[in-house]
Amino acid sequence: MSLADSVLNGDRLALARVLTQIENDTPDGRAALDLLFPRTGKAHLIGVTGAPGTGKSSLVNRLALHFRTQNKRVAIVAVDPSSPFTGGAVLGDRVRMKDLSGDNGVFIRSMASRGSLGGLAQATAGMVQVFDAAGYDVIMIETVGAGQSEVDIARLAHTTLVVEAPGLGDDIQAIKAGILEIADILVVNKADRPGVENTEKALKSMLELAHPTQRVYSHHGKYMSVALPIEANTDMWIPPIVKTIATEGNGIPELAEQISKHAEHLRISGDWAARERARLESEMETALQEKLMSQFRERVPQVRYDEIMRQVFERNLSPGEAVKLLTNGRTK
């Protein structure tokens, strides 16, 4: 029996092995993915991202417990950074997820970012597909929210939670590009901490800049109204702000409800299919690029490549001209 068949039969060790193969991008891993792919496309993928220390792991722990009460099988991919110097990593997310131990309906996998360009998102996408094929209903992907690779991972998800906590920065932090723009739901965790109102206010004002939700607002004491096309709002998702205290479980049912509301919104608006399509397209493009690149490398002799590269280095050719030369050489 192949590893992929064992995964479909619920063999947890086989599942763990396939995840390793995919993480290491081995031929076995790729072959397993090919077999598992037709079984994917059922799970709800939830991305959880935010700065270190905002409580992502604790939140994921509580959410998983909540989903278990609804009898959903839950998989968690927890990504922590690799050292850029040694390539090593300490993956500590399991420390906050002890409550999930001993439950066969939960599978937690820690993953080091390994710092490869774009490779992380690809490996994560593959791992998520394995969980999906293995019948996990909810797959949570937890990442430290900084930089492009995390944004790429968030794009994998149907629903992205951005976790904030009081005391991490002012409203300018909140309108910086990137991380907040990807949020489908904003979570203010550690809501028992002082400063929670400021954090919430900053996020609210950030949202209002992005989505003019208020029809009437006060400006220097005068009330001014904004005319909004009413229909435009009905099918637009405005990220809600949910306050939680993950360590105590406060706000978790409300958060879970927003998550299921978002899933419903995606299905009704057609965004679910659109997101799936965009994701699969980028996956296919990556595979295509790799394939074309390796074909190209096979056909163009290294000597010729080096010679043209030398001319680029001496500024005789621009990189664009070099590529033209190289590809024409191939087709002739």
């Binding site: 300490v90 500590g92 599978f107 390994r114």
Partner: protein
């Protein structure tokens, strides 16, 4: 495979709360380029075996300072075996009387390290063990 990383689960079974040693070792392994899954205090043998399975680790490092190693180690070995993870190498660090070491090695433990052990030796032994 050149990019195959050594994955190590570092766990503290039992009830003592001294995790300094486990953290020092976790960090040393990280600096040696390994991926360390740190699970923290008060883990049961079942929790450790389950984590080792889900994480598909090559090595399990146990930190035991409570004196309960002769009860915990065989249980963990048994569970790893039951899960089909016979290839996983198990190392113990902590306070282990000399006379217990041969018995632990007999059980299949790959190495035992007491106070004063060098992290370099631990790294070297792990690399050696999973070759």
């Amino acid at each position: 495979m050149s990019d195959k990383k050594i994955r190590v689960l570092v766990a503290k079974p039992g009830l003592d709360g001294h995790d300094r040693g486990a953290k020092v070792v976790a960090r040393a392994l990280r600096d040696a380029g390994m991926e360390v899954i740190y699970t923290g205090l008060r883990q049961t043998p079942e929790m450790i075996a389950e984590a080792a399975l889900q994480e598909d680790v090559d090595v399990v490092g146990l930190s035991i300072l409570s004196g309960a190693h002769m009860a915990l180690a065989p249980r963990i070995m048994e569970l790893l075996k039951a899960n089909g993870q016979t290839h996983v190498k198990v190392f113990i660090g902590g306070i282990v009387p000399d006379e217990d070491i041969p018995r632990l090695m007999e059980m299949g433990i790959s190495g035992v390290y007491g106070p004063g052990a060098s992290t370099e030796d631990i790294v070297k032994d792990i690399r050696e063990a999973i070759k």
